[in-house]
């Protein structure tokens, strides 16, 4: 094929404008991203690279769960693109009578990579198109013109490629036909340069970087330290910061591929709430960012949706392009600290915390009083948490006693802190960082006098350990009681006999599995006691929130929404005899939900804490 000089000029002009447009759009977005607060971290480089390998190259998240087949189709398309990278350069060079592949290489490449991947890629894109336009999963959203265009583009690209290569090996067309085919191929590639930056297809470029830069902590809410003695200017700056996204959050929004997996797994959405994380936490913010050319868009998050979030992090866990989806922390902090607009039931809760240091506004705790007090000669501080301390589910007191029984039988000495205050989790999750700080400062002062702490409340663990260390130098170590039990088991300090042959399952608490990364510990203990253990449909890091997270335990029940019942329903449908959990809030929610939901012809499922099933079967 010979190209006229005019054709060559046209090609250069076309590619130049395409590349310029592409780079301009990309830089525009990067500039906005860099206006975000907090810097990107590249600590733990090997871990980050490994994560890119897992999630990009191996597609571990894209092709997981219910979307495995869609993920494999996606892999065909992605690998197709990668394998065509060099071919594409070669393609354009041919217009100038240049090449990087000689004919032999080009032929072999075509036989072994080009042709098979062109077919796989076409299969992939047509498969995905079938899913999107024929099956129409709800979460993908309404008809997407760019998706249709991309289908046509990729299919055209592959067909024109095949024609071009076959013609090259074995000419079967006259020159104009081949030329038209060549130009069609070039046109589509150029078209991509215009299409990608302004659509969700930007993920092609951004997702590897986004996955690389993603914070490891889940959730990764930035600390908001408040200095009450600060000057007015400093305060204004702090308030302004509350309206801003972080760099990482901003990059997330431009990377979003709009697949809707976050919405699929969202307990609030599944429970009939309005919260749709794909839109409310991500896409709703995209246009405002581009329009204002800035990141101060927190106030564009739907407030009502923000209050519905259980902060369970399922959305973040499932995201295939590395987004930290949840923005409840951002919008709630904004509502509480900037707007002063807080639902009444939460105001009551926050007042209780400020005035009494506990969620219930109680002036004393019966359980705290009868537990042995911690003294420095004891090994462990047993941190009770408000839920146990104030018998928010009266049955849970027994679970605390069962845990102390286990400690006793292992010969571990422990005691409670008489001035233990709420870890601040509800205040933190509701965005009242001032109240949070007050509780935290008080607790850190007490806790820094001790070495080892254990608690049955994963919310407390997360705060005492992870969240506090964002603000303070903490000198103690916190373990969840299931971790302590598992250690005692491994050290042989306790022995568990296999218990009865009833069916037992485990509900993973979000804070324990997703945030604290503790999935196996509680299972080891339960399995030792329960020969007939089985897994629920959504388990481990893919667990479904019980509905109490994000301080929603205290949410006033309006009778609307079933977020608080979803998991209990699943447990009932699993036909288990016992459901074990490792979180006092989950325990309470299970009890509340299972009671009324159990059909008349089914025996009521027993709700147990890990400590219960262990204590019952300890030898």
């Amino acid at each position: 094929m010979k190209f006229h000089i005019i054709e060559q000029i046209a090609l250069v002009a076309f590619l130049f404008s395409g590349i310029s447009f592409f780079l301009y759009q990309l830089l525009l977005r990067l500039k906005i991203v860099l206006k975000g607060k907090l810097d990107f971290s590249i600590e733990d480089l090997p871990k980050r690279l490994l994560r890119v390998f897992d999630e990009v190259i191996l597609h571990k998240k894209v092709a997981s769960g219910k979307r495995k087949s869609a993920g494999i189709l996606h892999a065909f398309v992605m690998y197709g693109f990668i394998f065509f990278g060099l071919i594409t350069i070669n393609h354009f060079l041919t217009a100038f009578d240049l090449y990087i592949f000689n004919d032999t290489i080009r032929k072999n490449y075509f036989y072994f990579f080009g042709a098979p991947w062109a077919i796989l890629c076409t299969t992939g894109i047509l498969g995905l198109a079938y899913r999107r336009f024929i099956i129409k999963p709800e979460t993908l959203g309404k008809f997407s013109a760019t998706s249709a265009l991309v289908t046509v583009f990729i299919t055209t690209l592959m067909i024109t490629y095949l024609i071009d290569e076959i013609h090259h090996l074995n000419p079967f067309m006259n020159n104009p036909g081949a030329k038209i085919n060549w130009w069609l191929h070039s046109g589509v590639i150029g078209g991509f340069l215009f299409l990608i930056p302004k659509s969700k297809h930007m993920h092609l470029v951004l997702s590897p970087f986004n996955i690389f830069l993603r914070p490891f902590e889940v959730p990764s809410h930035p600390p908001i330290p408040i200095d009450l003695e600060a000057s007015e200017e400093e305060l204004d700056e702090l308030l302004l910061d509350l309206s801003k996204l972080s760099k990482d959050q901003a990059l997330d929004i431009f990377t979003c591929v709009e697949c809707g997996r976050c919405t699929d797994v969202c307990p609030a959405n599944r429970g009939g709430g309005i919260l749709n994380p794909k839109y409310h936490f991500i896409l709703d913010l995209k246009d405002p960012m581009l329009e204002s050319n800035d990141v101060n868009v927190v106030d564009k998050i739907n407030v009502e949706a923000g209050w519905e979030c259980t902060t369970c992090q399922a959305c973040t866990e499932v995201c295939p392009v590395g987004n930290h989806v949840e923005k409840a922390d951002a919008i709630r902090s904004f509502q509480v600290m900037v707007e002063g607009d807080v639902p009444q039931e939460y105001q009551k809760l926050l007042r209780n915390l400020q005035e009494t240091g506990n969620t219930e506004g109680a002036s004393s705790s019966e359980l705290l009083q009868r537990m042995p007090e911690y003294t420095p000669d004891k090994e462990l501080v047993l941190w009770l948490g408000c839920f146990a301390k104030h018998a928010m589910d009266p049955n849970f007191v027994k679970s605390v006693e069962n845990f102390t029984k286990i400690l006793d039988s292992a010969g571990v000495t422990y005691g409670v802190l008489s001035n233990e205050q709420c870890s601040g989790d509800p205040a933190n999750k509701l965005g009242d960082k001032l109240t949070y700080q007050m509780l935290m400062d008080n607790n850190v002062e007490e806790l820094n006098k001790v070495k080892r702490v254990t608690t049955m409340c994963p919310h407390c663990v997360v705060n005492l350990q992870k969240e506090y260390s964002k603000y303070h130098d903490i000198k103690y170590e916190v373990k969840h009681h299931t971790q302590v039990i598992n250690e005692l088991l491994e050290e042989g300090k306790i022995n568990i006999n296999p218990g009865s042959l009833e069916k037992v399952t485990y509900h993973d608490p979000c804070n324990l599995s997703r945030t604290l990364d503790e999935v196996d510990g509680p299972r080891n203990a339960i399995k030792a006691a329960a020969p007939e253990f089985f897994e629920l449909d959504e388990s481990g890091k893919d667990t479904l929130c019980c509905g109490a997270g994000g301080a929603l335990w205290w949410k006033k029940d309006t009778g609307e929404g079933r977020t608080h019942l979803l998991r209990a329903e699943q447990v009932i449908e699993s036909k288990t005899d016992t459901v074990v959990t490792g979180c006092n809030f989950c325990y309470g929610m299970m009890n509340q939900g299972i009671g009324p939901l159990t059909p008349a012809d089914q025996d009521k499922i027993e709700v147990k804490d890990v400590a219960d099933i262990v204590a019952e079967n300890i030898s």
Binding site: A391, K556, D557, G559, E560, Q592, G595, P596, L597
Partner: protein, 321 residues
């Protein structure tokens, strides 16, 4: 003199006023003071007629064009004139919303004490001692009032109108009230009702509350007819609302409303803590449940152990008789 002031409630003597008359009759007897009943303002002549057989020394009518409809300005001024003229030792009314609205004005006008919301009267000292609830009814207090005239209002049901002594009054008289148009500063519009969409259970005197023990939505009418026979509001525990059998604004408990009615009749509610916190302040709790160990019985005054499906229809039938 003991002076009881009757309150008009849309043409009738307010139920609280009847109880105040009973209180007045008791005070009159214990202290040896004459009892006068005052029909004041709006609808006063009709009230006098309705009160004509109440046993009292005097039945007084105080009317004026400017108090033909209630206003705090007019009523307080008129009553202050009556009190200044008659110098009663005690002036009694029911602790109604109207009394809260104007009686403190009389107290300030005449510089006399107003002991409000009284639950009991104790005669063991030189002068009567009045008890009232304080600190959200966690405590009660004995109040001593020292003044030539003392204003009193009684909590509903502190006295029962069943104890009313009948016999009519010895004297009937008219009191002439002096008012000028400029005395009435505020202007009231007609009273009206709103559709009962979002029922405020917190003000309900009687509540019949239904729980999971009702088993099916089809059985709900059993409880609804009991509630209507008793003139009670219907309420529920969370499971009933969760199942969509009753709207959310009927829910009592930590996630619903907190109520403190005179009687809380719970039907088929086991008494989970989340429910109990919303109703433990009820003055009287009567609970029907099959399970004699139901936690609700721990806080109940009356524990009815039996099958609600049998008891409720039967009780409804008896009440309707």
């Amino acid at each position: 003199m003991i002076l009881v002031v009757l309150e008009n409630q849309r043409g009738n003597i307010h139920a609280f006023s009847k109880e105040a008359v009973v209180a007045g009759q008791q005070l009159s007897e214990k202290l040896g003071l004459d009892l006068s009943i005052l029909c004041l303002g709006e609808n006063a002549s009709s009230l006098r007629e309705q009160a004509s057989d109440y046993s009292a020394k005097n039945l007084i009518l105080a009317q004026h064009d400017l108090i033909n409809s209630y206003s705090a300005d007019g009523y307080s001024k008129a009553l202050a004139q009556v009190i200044s003229e008659l110098s009663p030792k005690y002036v009694l009314m029911g602790h109604s919303y109207m009394v809260r609205d104007f009686l403190p004005r009389v107290s300030a006008k005449l510089d006399i004490p107003f002991v409000s919301d009284i639950i009991t009267v104790d005669y063991n000292s030189d002068s009567p001692i009045f008890s009232r609830q304080v600190f959200n009814a966690k405590l009660a207090t004995k109040v001593e009032a020292t003044s030539d005239t003392v204003l009193l209002s009684f909590q509903s049901a502190a006295f029962s109108s069943d104890g009313m002594q009948i016999g009519g009054s010895e004297n009937q008289s008219d009191f002439s009230v002096n008012l000028e148009a400029s005395d009435i500063k505020s202007q009231s519009e007609a009273e009206f009702q709103e559709s009962a969409s979002g029922v405020d259970l917190t003000t309900a005197e009687l509540i019949v509350s239904v729980g999971r023990g009702i088993e099916s939505q089809d059985n709900l009418p059993l409880v609804e007819s009991l509630a209507s026979a008793m003139g009670a509001e219907i309420a529920s525990s969370r499971p009933v609302v969760d199942m969509g059998w009753l709207p959310p604004y009927r829910q009592i408990g930590s996630s619903g409303q907190a109520v403190s009615p005179k009687l809380y009749l719970s039907v088929g509610i086991s008494g989970a803590i989340q429910h109990v916190v919303g109703m433990k302040g009820s003055k009287t709790i009567m609970a029907i449940n099959k399970d004699e160990d139901a936690p609700i019985f721990e806080i109940a005054d009356y524990a009815v152990i039996g099958d609600l499906m049998e008891i409720v229809p039967k009780l409804t039938e008896e009440i309707q008789k």
